[in-house]
């Protein structure tokens, strides 16, 4: 059930990024927020697997080099999962701060990967004009998406305990 709901979330997130958010100069990465949220709520292993699958799905839809998003989101989900035992799940500030930092680190990692494959990116310029605004957008949107994932988790737990 969790896999099904998460798949729907990822499909909707990618569709929203490709359509409604395209008017923004820099598109927020809703999939990154989902991966961090699940890592924080379910731990490293599930964060890693979900990050890998969601990243791979984004790679297939983005064209170009396949694997950049899969690799970065896999490591992201794994890293976020280390905080699972230490955070208070209802606190919305921690996910926002985590997403802000994760965007700066992992989107920079994406750019470095593209530069390694001969893409003409200016790292400093891209960091200032794209990654920094994206980190702010992501941090603002995180409470809403984190709440969705949290509600899903509680619903699944309640459903399992009712049986």
């Amino acid at each position: 059930m969790r896999a099904l709901i998460l798949s729907i979330y990822v499909i909707l997130a990618v569709a929203i990024q490709a359509t409604w958010l395209k008017a923004l100069n820099v598109t927020p990465d809703l999939v990154l927020i989902l991966v961090v949220s699940l890592g924080l709520l379910r731990g490293s292993d599930q964060g890693l697997f979900f990050g890998l699958m969601a990243g791979f799905f984004m790679d297939l839809l983005s064209g170009g080099i396949i694997g950049v998003h899969a690799l970065s989101k896999m490591v992201l989900g794994f890293s976020a999962g280390f905080m699972e035992k230490t955070i208070f799940k209802d606190n919305l500030l921690i996910p926002s701060i985590t997403v802000f930092g994760a965007t700066l680190i992992f989107e920079s990692f994406n750019i470095i990967m593209y530069i390694a494959f001969n893409a003409h990116y200016n790292f400093i310029g891209t960091f200032v004009s794209s990654i920094l605004p994206m980190a702010f957008y992501n941090a603002i949107l995180t409470p809403f998406i984190y709440q969705l994932v949290l509600k899903m988790e509680r619903w699944i737990v309640k459903r399992a305990s009712d049986r």
């Binding site: 490709a18 983005s62 064209g63 950049v68 200032v128």
Partner: protein
Amino acid sequence: MFQLFANRRFLLIALIFLVITWVMFISSHPRASEGKTEYFFNTAMLPLESIFNYFSDVVGGSWRTVTKLSHLTQENERLHKEIDNLQIHQIFLNSLKAENDRLRIALNFQTNQSNELVSAEIIAANPSNWNQTIIINRGQDFHLKKNMAVITSQGVVGRIGEVRAKTAEVILITDPREGNFVGGVVARTRNLVIITGGGRYRGECTVQPAVDSYFMDLKPHDLIVTSETSEIFPRGLPVGRVVYVNQISARMVSKASLKPVVHLGNLQMVYVLRSKRDLPVNADDSGGSSDARINP
């Protein structure tokens, strides 16, 4: 036992790393066409993206209508006057065209052929920020092929990438991937340049001299248009204006950043050129001119 599990877990992660690195390496090489998996997922996402796009158009259109209602009468009057002016202009143009055709026949010149344009709507943009592509609602059904030029009335947009049954991917000129370049010419000096995707900041391109060891005379606000050396675009189409120059000496520049004349983040409709036909050189395309428009 725990040690063994931990090691196995580590090995599994390392194996996934290796597989992804291998996939990245393989997919980074130029491919004739996209794989079946990519084709399947892109086609499967199309209905959902079309529905989302439709709602965004309806909401955006309604909002624009509401905000523009108060200006509609004035705009209507202005447009009526503009139509009158254009009709008079058209009569002059028709007589010039007739004269031009007569002279071409008299001089035994090849007759000008009009560009074969296919209009297309934008369905979706790339969900990733790092690949600057858009999806249009025309594909194999309209005989589109890879590397056809995509333009608007303002200038160059990009070229066709992957073509699917009913959609096609457009690689924007700002996309920084390897091999995404356009042959251009500085309108003021007629120096040949190469424009590559990816500049100083997001949404910019890089301008370099066509010959590596040469420097060029370039100033901010210079207009760059497509040149005869472009394999995809007809000559004379505006590409963009220089926004930043990397100065070597008082007059010489080794590299510059260019901002496209087309606002690529706000596209609604584009035109695909099914065949490359060279446009006559525009007499007004001098650097610093604010009118960079063409009429395809």
